[in-house]
Amino acid sequence: MRVPGLLLAALLALGASGDARKSGIDFMSPSLQAMQRDDAQNPGQLWVREGQALMARVAANGQRCIDCHAGAALDGVAARYPRLDGRRAITLAGRIDQCRERRLGLAPQGSDGDEVLALSAWLAQRSRGTPIAPDPRLADLRQRGAQLWRQRFGQLNLACTQCHDERAGQRLGGAPIPQAHATGYPIYRLEWQTLGSLERRLRGCLTGVRAEPFAPGAEEWLALEAYLMGRAAGLAHEGVAVRP
């Protein structure tokens, strides 16, 4: 049975009390939830610390991140990406790479580069508790993302929506299927034993249904990220999340 769009819209309009949306943290065990919430246990804090140090590092051209981005100006930004940058949409990781390249003269690393992850983690930490506010100018991109979300992929011929909308809360093998709200990226995933980006997580799902993932940095990842952030609008950003 297909869930009519109107019903979904009505559910979203009910507000916080009647909101049927649940973050991935609500699908985890109490001990894992505690691991995420306690900064002394959350391994993502290793990257947050490194990101903080990188902000003050002097690059080869004598520039530092904090020369431009001082004080609390960056608080909450992780909840506002992807955004329109000129005529193109850009993710937070893309923005970090762009800034590193243009201002500091460093080579771009992509969303899973060491320094980009550390800076993303530091920004995510400073966005903890901020409601996710998608860029209203990206409606077209979100629509493209929604289309990909409903498109069947791979040898298993599955669409994202079949698990994460229609079967959310049920189990795949032993693991609960979450609703896939991107509220805590970059995440420390226990399966990876490291920090990773949303693009990496989406790639995992695509290889999981035995599809060939899109090329690194492809437009499709951006569209899916824009769609997912729109879908999670209003949910609180969790900072650097831990996931099983």
């Binding site: 900064d39 002394a40 246990q41 391994p43 804090q45 290793l46 990257w47 610390r49 490194e50 060491d114 226990l190 034993q193 490291t194």
Partner: protein
């Protein structure tokens, strides 16, 4: 890449109180059993020893093995009679060695 650590000790402790210490280090803990995708094996690179000293006296010590996950967290309890310096040392394969020192403030 620089070594990342995260050490949490209570900021103020009363003499004789039992308190929690948590020490996390960023380390891949490569088991030595994984394939490198080209017919070979990724060589083992793990931490072997962890030691915590209070002013030179060992107060906690652990031996680590390949089955321990990456970025290991050491959580243990201590009791201190006086202030001092807690030194955390991790040693591992390929000559890895990293130390961090944290001041311990014990009040009356």
């Amino acid at each position: 890449m620089t070594v990342r650590t995260l050490i949490v000790v209570p900021p103020a402790i009363r003499r004789g109180d039992v308190f929690n210490v948590r020490a996390t280090i960023g380390h891949p803990m490569e088991t030595g059993h994984r394939s490198d995708g080209a017919g070979g094996v990724v060589p083992r690179d793990i931490l072997r020893r962890f030691e915590c000293r209070l002013d030179g006296n060992t107060v906690f010590r652990a031996t680590l093995y390949p089955a321990i996950a990456a970025n290991p967290i050491m959580a243990f309890t201590l009791r201190a009679e006086r202030s001092g310096n807690l030194t955390f040392t991790w040693e591992g394969d390929r000559g890895f060695r990293h130390s961090e020192t944290v001041a311990l403030n014990v009040g009356a």
